[in-house]
Symmetry: C2
Subunit: 241 residues, 2 copies
Amino acid sequence: MTIESDNRFDDCERAGVYRAITSRRDVRSQFTATRIPEDVLARLLAAAHHAPSVGFMQPWEFIVIRDERIRREVHSNFEQQNRIAAETYEGDRRLLYEHLKLAGILDAPINLCVTCNKSLARGKGLGRQTMPETPIYSTVCAIQNLWLAARAEGVGVGWVSILDVESLRRSLSIPDHIEPVAYLCLGYVSAFAERPDLEARGWEQRARLADLIHFDQYGETDRDQAGHLLTSLSHDPFIPL
Amino acid sequence: MTIESDNRFDDCERAGVYRAITSRRDVRSQFTATRIPEDVLARLLAAAHHAPSVGFMQPWEFIVIRDERIRREVHSNFEQQNRIAAETYEGDRRLLYEHLKLAGILDAPINLCVTCNKSLARGKGLGRQTMPETPIYSTVCAIQNLWLAARAEGVGVGWVSILDVESLRRSLSIPDHIEPVAYLCLGYVSAFAERPDLEARGWEQRARLADLIHFDQYGETDRDQAGHLLTSLSHDPFIPL
């Protein structure tokens, strides 16, 4: 037993991590009305709060939205923007778009807006000087933590990006210096779909991972080398290709 | 047994997810020279590729960097930017900054640059019209997936943001339309630290989660209500506050 393998999780815990990653879904339908218990919501928020952050800045904040009136307002915002978006497609693509369900704002018992304070003094600027967008990246890491923890709890999460940001700011009283990064819908679900909705409905296909790997330089793709690197995934016990 | 609880992971798998989230570290020291086997690297890349993405766009790409010459070039880039950054601090803070180890570019056997193609046709623009930054967010979700999977494998990851982006582009031949989002160092580690380095060294403290929670409207913080919501975390079996 080497030092390195001591740091590895046992098979069951490792399986949990990969199961969360592969069976997580962006949920828009299938929400049930079941209340999310406080201890579960607390764990999800704590999971987000354990995200990495540039300079240990922890620039994230969470608006827990249960109020029906506010959710209706955000839902109207979504419907308006969704109509505008639909008009950019034509023919069969337009029909398919109009049949996609793209938000569960009113169905999900909790909506959660995750914000970022890019100008926060916490962290004392470390790591932000060359890459000013890093506080936003930290906030997205927090969102993905929450999303995976939610999957483990059986809670579905849907990220709604079809929203007019200025209207959203008004609905939630978000000041100018705070960036709303994500508007999430959270709730238990009747089932987690086998495949992403947009894949199952034929909107888009999963890309081949081998095509996305470059070696040492961008543009240095090498199908053979990438294929060789990924060979084990055809029979990997933890994660399918 | 309700439908909802059927979707929940069993305790061991759930523990794995929360353990990855809470014991993940931004690793800069402690890298060992041990080679990362191909099957482990393949799982990490597959974990990233299973991230959520706007419109199922999958805008991420991965540059696997093993070449010593390129790593040296990126390391010089880091050193130069780190000197400039150090000069922005004064007194004790400056001394502390200069004693922080902020990158393991040469120590870690693999460097990985994760890029984003914001103008990619895949996904057909769905969800991007109101929030053009969403492809970047999807890419950061992929990075966090990889980071958590790496923790489960006993592999440490460090995100280096103290780099001049234009020099980095030149070193890795990244074209203008491709955004380098993260430069990561990957390797087995002798140990994962108990606490984040910047916390242990006194650079910054962990924020109180209760202070980061708002109810229905930004600014509607309520210590009592937030404290009540988070009560269970003082004795939660899965995640500490």
